[in-house]
Every structure is written in C-alpha cells, then in structure tokens.
Symmetry: C2
Subunit: 456 residues, 2 copies
C-alpha cells in the first residue's frame, strides 16, 4: 500500500504568547508585533512556500485567572492575553496566498449560530473554499462570565449545546439553498430561484432560527470541521462530527491508542477510516547538527517562564498550582482535569515522579505536548513513529515565530519531500479536497451534515 | 473663514444588489462577483486613489419579505440577499491600502458586545486605527426571528438596548486597559502591568459582562461611530453617541433642517459643532457632457427593476406596496414608517402626487435618496448646495460598481481638488484624526465614552 503523504498545520493564535510562556522576549520572536497585519501575511506566505496544508488558529474568550486566583501572571506574561480575534485576520492572509487552508477556533458559547454561519460562509466564498472551523465548547469560567452567564454550563451540557449549534449550522449551510438555486441569469434578470431557497425553521432547546441562510452555497458549504475532544463525551462528539481530530500524548503508543479508540467510535457512526484525519500536536526544534538543535532547545528552555507556564496549566486544568510545593511529587493531585491532561504522560513512564516544577517545564517548552529535537533526518524518523501508529499529520506549535516554522520549512520539509512523505505542490480544489481527495469538496455520507441536504 | 474640505465615503454592501435593484445585470456591473476578494481589494485601491475618506459597508441580517408577504422577489432580484458578512472583508482591503477608512454595520441585536468589541479592537489594531462602526438597531422582523427572538423589540426599546450595548463597549474599549498598561519590556520579561488592567463588571438590564477586555488599547480605542437615527429617539441617540451622522432628504432645505435639529440636540449634550460630521446619502451620475450624463442616467433608470425596488421599500417601511394600485396617488398611506421615509420628500413638493410607481422609480434609481446628474462642473455646484446648508460630506451610493466610483473619481474628484474642496493627499493618523483633525485619535469630552476613561 502506498503511504499517504503527511499533513502539516501551523498551530498559532492571535496573541503574544500562545504555548511558549517567556519566549516572546527572545530576540528573534516577532509575536510582540501580533497587531501588525504584515506579520500574519508573511507567516501565511511562509507556510505556503513550505507547502503546509493549513494555519490553525486557537482562541480563548476569557483569561487564565486560576493560578493564584488572579489574572496577574497571565497579564504580566502575556499568556494568551491580550488575545485578539482570529477570524478577522483571515481575508488578508487569504488574499496573499492561493492554497493554504485557514482553520480558526470559535466557541459555541460565544456567538449565535445564525450570524456565525454567515461569517463562515462569507469566508469560504472569499477564500474559494479554504476555511476550517475548530469547534470548541470553552473551558474558562472567566469566558462564560464575559457573555452574561453565571459560569460554564456543565461539561456534558456544553456538548449538548454544541450538538444543537452544529445542527443549526448544518441546516443553514447544507439545506437552505439548493445546489442550483443560484441562476445568475443576467439576460432574464434572475439571480436566484426562490423556490430553491428554504427557511430552516429550527426550534430547539438552545436555539431558535426561523429564516433562510443569507449566504448562497459556498465552495465547501460546511467548512472543514476540526475538533479536539479528549473526554469520553468529547470523543463521541469528534467521532460523529469531526473531519480533523486534534490530539496529543506523550508516546506513539498512547496516541495510537487514542486514534484507535476514536476511529472505533467513528466506525459506530458508520464513518469510514478515510473520513477522519488525526493531527498530532507537537513542537519541533531542529538545527544543522544534533548539537545545534539541542543548543537551541536548551536556549528556549532557559527562557521559559515558570509562572507563565503554570498560569496556562492552571487555566487548562482548573487547579491552582500555586498552592503546591514546586518540588513535591504530584501523586496527590487527583482531579479529573489533571488526569485528562497528564494521565497519559504519567502512564507512559510510571516510575517517573512528576513535580509541579516538572510540569511547568513540560508545559513551558512543549505547551502540553511532546517536543522533538534533532537534525532534519532524525526528525523525519521521529515524526514517522507517530505516523506509524495511525496519526495522519501534525499541528506544529512554535517556540518562536517565524523561526520555528522557518527552521522546519528550510530544514525538515525538503527531507520529507525527498522521501515522498510531503507534497511538493498543492493539489487543486478546496481545503477539504486537498485533505481528503479530489471530488470531496463537500461532506459525504454518513456525516450528519449530509442528512440535511436536499437532493438537487 | 476657510471652508473645510468635503468628506467622501463610498456606500456599499457585501451583496449583489445594494441600492440599485435591476442594475446587477448591467454589462459593466461587477457585483455578481461579490464573493471574489479581488473585487473588494480593487474597489478599496480605487477609492484610495480617489482620496475617499472611507468605505462604508451596510448590512442586514434578515430578508425583505414584506412585499407580497414573501421573500420571492428579493431572492429573484438579489435585493440584499444573498448578503454576506461585511466585517470579514476588511483585513484584505486594509492590507492593500494605507489610508482608507473602513466603517461597517453591525446591529446591537445580533452579536454579544463582548466578542464584538474584541473584533472591533482587533481590526482597529490591524488597520492601525482605520475602523468605524455604523451602530444599527435593526428594522427587519425576519432578522430578529433569525436569532431566537419572536420579533423585533419595540422601536424605543431597541434604542435602550443600543444605549446599554454602547456602554458595555465603551467600558471595554476605554476603561479596561489604562494607556500605560502595556509595557512590552523584553529585558525584564514584562508584557503588561496587571494593576492597570481592570474588569468592567457590567451588570445591566440586557447585558452582563464581568471580565477585562481581551484586547490591549488599539489606536482609536473606540472606533469612529456612525449612526443614522432619523426618528426622534434615533436623533437623540445620534446626538449623544454619533461622530458621523448618516442622513438623506430631497432638498438642501429639508436636509439643512435635519442637520440643524440634530446639532441643537447634540448641543444639549454639550457636544461642540466640530464633534459631529453629517454625511448625506446620494447618488451621482456623471459624464463628459450633460447629454452623456443624462443618457447614462436614462440607461440605468430603464434597467431598474420595479418589483425589486418595491421589495426594498416594503422592507424599509413595513408596508406591503403590492397591495396598492401602482398608479393610485399615495395620499391614503399614512403610517409612521412611510411618513418617516417620505414625508420630507412630500413636503418638498406639496403639489406632487406620488404613486407607488413613482416611489418604485425613485427607490430604484436613487435607493431612497437624491440622484445628481451632470458634468463634473455642474455636479460640484450641486454638491455645494448641500454643503452650504451644513452637510459635511457624502456617502456616495452606486448605480454600478466600479463604474459609478470610477466616473466620480476620474471626473468629479479632480474638479473638487482644483477648487480646494477635496483633499489632494491624506493626512497622517487614524480615521478619526483624518476626519476630525490631528491629535484627535481618540474621543474627546464630552462624548459619553470618555467618562469611562481612567486618568493615566
């Protein structure tokens, strides 16, 4: 069997510090200029030069205020605050590129599906079908309190909201305008056939949307759907809806198991193995020699900010790590959140005793995922270990921008290409076609979006 | 006293047919390509070449379904449906230009102020302070039913919602981050001073927002505020909040009276004459000779679509004009909405008997405002009639795009410039500084936004 090429996204965020607390002060890091459109356009062009599949933009709508019960560290360290909107960045980057996909994060708690679905459709039109959406259900209590809620709805209810939110979006994207509704007959003066445009008439538990979609069908209709559910409920959600699943873990064995589990789950929904791609989150640090790469890693690690790392970690887990002795083993920390985050890491090396300090270093340099260090040739070998357990591609986080990506594109990409593991040129078509193959511009059965589609 | 230069915006919308029903079929009209980012980038470059102040983007989030009690005509004629999102267009146009301002419409009923304020701040950063917001309270019942409401809230309540929405935004934009909160000290590793970042703690009747703004202060903080309130309540709202007031009317006398009224109203809020600019909505059709201009006008008028015009008019007024005999004088139509829309036109020529057909032609060619036809020299004279009654500038609508703007920029702009009535070069600074003068990057007292500002 011919091996499929490996997929690559750059993992980023419209902020100063995404997943490398402390490193914004590095002389080569440009993210202190994150408000400059030029930085983003240059990044997009760089990624397209490197034949990346997409730029994946994270987002939060709250602050990391669990650590020491204050947002003090997060603000001082710019740890995901300021955090600017990702969606409004896209059109400039799209205009400067031709093939790169753009997937951005938007929470089902923060915008109403009717205007949101229209924004997605608009961008899918403007980019000629290069849009992806990372569906999230939010994890910051502070984010919920910013939109009039007393707190986050319970975890499983957030997924119930997400299910209905997607239903509304699918109805708008897939069912409202038939494929041949738009006629564009300038001679007869008919733009569209109103008998082929339909109200969605959604009346649900959380949302109520009566009208037709305001956007005509875009190249992909539904954008490429990303999701990162790790909990059992999240895994179910991903298995049902996601086309690209975003995950991480300490070893190929652990991640391979997660992939297998989610694939089995997707199988229950009738979805074929080819319908889902698994993107592994990790960071890659490379250099001409092993020593040069290791030196770069050491230099980055030295600049990691301990408090900034724990501010992020406390926000993700809901646990205030400032309450713990930095050097005390963590065996007594037994909440669900930490289990979800680190159980797999603990399992991978059962004899290792993790301390808070270890976690801070781990999060500070890796952002919660593995860091691979080596020469381009060594790295290709390391990446293949994940591919061999069923991962399809990588969401590459950065230590510094654009340095981490420039290093990868100039060093590792040519080796991957030589070995036939990465594309030399882009395929034609939409983001979905580039990921899943020609003729798949739109979702296929048995994806739940398709059941809303009217036969033309 | 030296006369101030005249301001110009292009009035547009992310759709096929904005205010010229039927004209999308004109061979030179490009708006059937509205989903192509290139059309927008070229338009922005053209407007910057013509030294326009801004591009003003209208929007609706519902359909025009009052006429014949169906959206059939609107869909057939593409009368503001499809209507794509305006905000996501901006960054591409901003990247291709240096000075042009971008004002877009967003309704207080359709997005929560917390994420919306962040989107505005993000764009204000990315454009280096070139953003304006047209605050609207919505008028389409269908739009309200798309976001879970049983119908539009009553008119005056919509303004109460808008008042609170602006309060929330002002708190986020003006009070959350102090001017010197962002330190960016890479040597000491301090991005911002957390003691200078504040929660907004807004608990109101309609909105509840606890946290701090997620965006650091952008060049303008609050974007340039546009508003078009014509009702007494709307006029009060504009007098209090708006920096640019958008209005129209049949004659300079009528419009001059409206300007005077709103200025008097603003005066009661302590605002100086220089704090408000009045932008008159109209359309300009020009040619090398009077005959050529008139021929162009006649050609456009002939292509106006009667039903499309009445679909728009019925949506604006809430009256189903299909119920009326096209040639019956309109004296029996006596609702508030039609009075608001056309009373001033009726007053201007009390002997004229308006029929539905007249209204359709009037709306079809002018979109509800006057149409000026003539040579560049004649047009400068006509424009000055509005300037002389207190209007500061124009929101120029199009018959066709880019033709209407190309004609104006190549024909009328040079004449205006020769007479010292229009800028030859842009001033430096933000959109607000370009409109209101150097040193006014941000709002000044006694604008209500300013009272939320903390002294640095």
């Amino acid at each position: 069997m011919q091996r499929r090429r490996i997929f690559f996204n750059a993992f980023h965020m419209n902020c100063v510090v995404h997943q490398s607390p402390g490193l914004w002060v590095h002389p080569a890091d440009q993210m202190h200029r994150y408000t400059d459109l030029g930085v983003w356009v240059e990044l997009a062009k760089l990624l397209e030069r490197g034949k990346f599949d997409g730029l994946f933009l994270a987002d939060v709508l709250g602050v990391y205020d669990v650590y020491r019960n204050t947002r003090e560290v997060a603000v001082t360290q710019a740890a995901q605050i300021p955090a600017n909107d990702p969606m409004v960045l896209v059109s400039a980057m799209a205009y400067a590129t031709e093939h790169l996909g753009f997937a951005f994060t938007s929470s089902v708690l923060h915008s109403h599906p009717f205007p949101f679905a229209r924004q997605i459709s608009t961008l899918d039109h403007l980019t000629k079908g290069r849009i992806g959406w990372n569906v999230v259900t939010s994890y910051l209590e502070s984010g919920a309190r910013n939109v009039g809620k007393s707190g986050l709805p319970p975890h499983d209810e957030r997924y119930a909201i997400a299910d209905e939110y997607l239903d509304v979006c699918y109805k708008l994207w897939e069912s409202s305008w038939e494929d041949d509704a738009v006629v564009k007959d300038r001679r007869r003066g008919i733009y569209a056939d109103p008998t082929k445009v339909h109200e969605v008439r959604h009346e649900g538990r959380y949302f109520n949307v009566q009208g037709c979609h305001l956007a005509e069908p875009s190249p992909q209709r539904t954008p490429v759907l990303y999701q990162a559910g790790a909990s059992p409920r999240g895994q179910q959600f991903a298995a049902r809806h996601a086309e690209c699943v975003f995950l991480t873990g300490p070893t190929p064995q652990v991640v391979g198991h997660l992939v297998k589990e989610t694939r089995a789950c997707a199988d229950q929904y009738g979805r074929a193995p080819d319908d889902l791609l698994f993107f592994m989150y990790l960071k890659v640090i490379t250099g001409d020699t092993e020593t040069a790469a290791q030196r770069k890693y050491d230099e980055f690690l030295e600049q990691v900010n301990y408090d900034g790392a724990l501010a992020l970690l406390s926000g993700w887990s809901g646990i205030d790590f400032s309450q713990l002795d930095p050097d005390q083993p963590l065996e007594y920390v037994e909440t669900n959140a930490v289990r979800t985050l680190f159980q797999s890491f603990a399992q991978a090396d059962p004899n290792r005793r993790w301390t808070t300090r270890d976690l801070a270093r781990f999060v500070g340099i890796g952002g919660g995922g593995p860091v691979l260090v080596g020469t381009p040739e060594q790295l290709v070998g390391m990446l293949m270990e994940w591919i061999n357990v069923g991962v399809d591609g990588f969401n590459l986080a950065y230590a510094i921008t654009p340095g981490t990506f420039t290093d990868f594109i100039d060093g590792v990409v040519p080796v991957l290409q030589q070995r036939g593991l990465m594309q030399h040129e882009y395929n034609e078509g939409t983001f979905r076609e580039k990921l899943f193959g020609q003729g798949r511009a739109r979702l296929q059965k048995p994806h739940p979006a398709v059941r809303y589609r009217r036969s033309a």
